[in-house]
């Protein structure tokens, strides 16, 4: 019996960027003979409906991966998180004020942006 000729394709990991202000996000993988075809097939596999602005394919052997141990968190790190400071809301109320959030600042700045744009239009 003659041995079957098997075409061995390499594995490519696929990353998609949905808009220019987003990072590329891993969506899955596929096998392909070349990176050009990997891109074509990634488009057909992962972007039949969703739109995107950029697509990366990376050969799996070019990706280094950590172990779970490497990312273990033994210590309480609330001191570096917003939720470690929930008492601020209560403290501000004692001064008849409220805590300031990044969302509030972004909204305030964007409001200025909108005003500016409508002014430019006039």
């Amino acid at each position: 019996m003659t041995k079957k000729e098997v075409a061995e394709y390499g594995v490519y990991e696929v990353f998609i960027q949905k808009s220019y202000t987003d990072p590329h996000i891993h969506v899955g993988s596929l096998v392909a003979p070349t990176s050009e075809l990997a891109m074509q097939w990634a488009r057909e596999n992962f972007l039949r409906r969703d739109s995107a602005v950029s697509l990366w394919v990376v050969q799996r052997e070019h990706i280094d991966q950590t172990s779970t141990d490497f990312l273990a968190r033994e210590l309480d790190r609330k001191y570096r998180e917003v939720r470690g400071y929930t008492e601020n809301g209560r403290l501000w109320r004692m001064f008849k004020e409220k805590t300031l959030t990044i969302e509030e600042i972004v909204a305030a700045v964007e409001e200025k942006n909108r005003n500016l744009k409508s002014k430019n239009k006039k």
Binding site: Y20, T21, D22, P23, R77, Y79, R80, E81, V82, G84, Y85, E87, N88, L91, W92, M94, F95, K96, E97, T99, L100, T101, I102, E104, I105, V106, A108, V109, E110, K112, N113, L116
Partner: protein
């Protein structure tokens, strides 16, 4: 349509420019100047707070301020990566970008030339200096340069913790002893002028005008300063502090804050000549860290033996 017109068309349509896209030299130079200064300000901005790591009043405060210093250095790294891609065609590298600090070829924000004299200063930096910086950065989220916009998004997310951290130190002091409250007031008196200067001159400089033209930024210095006033003046008053400006008031007709301008000359000399109270000392530490670490950076390139 020539290259330049195509580029401006993209900008006007709200598209983001990427590192490998064609861009006018002027656009590249403006970005380098802005983001290099931003990166270096993050790095030099870690110094006033790191000086308080050994002197923090509790273990939790020590951990929190260390976490903040680590964040600032991290932001510096993210931003330097962006500058590296921008200066690549000009033949400059990371080494040059750092050396520029101690050869006085790049400026950093006036506030980081000042002294963090007390724990209240450390807290006030966390609350108001960071507050001012966050307003600046939030306004840049809509920048036309894609890599900068994406990094700023991440930086702003981390700033959420910085805001809470700064508020917490200030609120604790504001509820403390008479001496602690006085320390807080002294701190506000020392930093107020620096905070006003931080946003830059009132008039729109030619460089700022070009940045607005390219939509690198969209708001003027004065608009940002007014935003800072809107958000922070009521809070400063609520905790019983007095702002050291007898002329400060809200003009209800013009719908803006009226204030005494800072000593523009004094602070611009500090920034241009690096001759603020702590400039030389901190720059020297940066030089030592960079030069002293050179052999380590080189050693890590060597292949392991055997």
């Amino acid at each position: 349509m020539n290259q330049e017109e195509m580029f401006m068309k993209r900008i006007k349509q709200g598209e983001k420019i990427e590192a490998t896209d064609w861009m006018p030299d002027e656009y590249r130079q403006l970005l380098i100047k802005l983001i290099h200064m931003h990166a270096v300000s993050e790095i030099m901005g870690a110094y006033p707070e790191k000086e308080w790591v050994p002197k923090a009043p509790s273990l939790r405060r020590k951990l929190a301020i260390m976490a903040k210093v680590q964040d600032e250095m991290g932001h510096g790294q993210l931003l330097l990566r962006i500058v590296e891609d921008l200066v690549y065609p000009l033949g400059k590298k990371r080494e040059d970008l750092i050396e520029d600090i101690y050869y006085h070829r790049v400026k950093f924000h006036n506030v980081f030339h000042m002294e963090a004299r007390t724990w209240a200063d450390a807290g006030l930096i966390g609350w108001l200096v960071d507050g001012a910086a966050i307003i600046n950065q939030a306004a840049l989220l809509s920048t036309s340069y894609g890599p900068y916009a994406r990094v700023l998004k991440r930086i702003c997310a981390e700033e959420s913790f910085h805001m809470q951290h700064g508020e917490n130190i200030i609120l604790t002091l504001a509820m403390g002893t008479a001496k602690q409250k006085q320390m807080l007031q002294d701190s506000l008196n020392y930093w107020w002028e620096s905070l006003l200067f931080f946003f830059g001159p009132k008039e729109v400089t030619p460089a700022a005008e070009r940045m607005i033209h390219y939509r690198i930024r969209t708001l003027t210095n004065e608009q940002l300063r007014q935003k800072f006033f809107d958000k922070y003046i009521p809070r400063i008053h609520s905790i019983g502090l007095t702002i050291p400006d007898p002329h400060l008031k809200y003009d209800t007709e013009k719908k803006c804050w009226v204030y005494t301008e800072p000593d523009w000359k004094k602070f611009s000399e500090i920034v241009k000549k690096n001759n603020g109270p702590k400039s030389r000392e901190r720059i020297e530490l940066r030089r030592q860290a960079h030069e002293g670490g050179r052999w380590v950076r080189q050693a890590m390139l060597c292949k392991p033996v055997g």
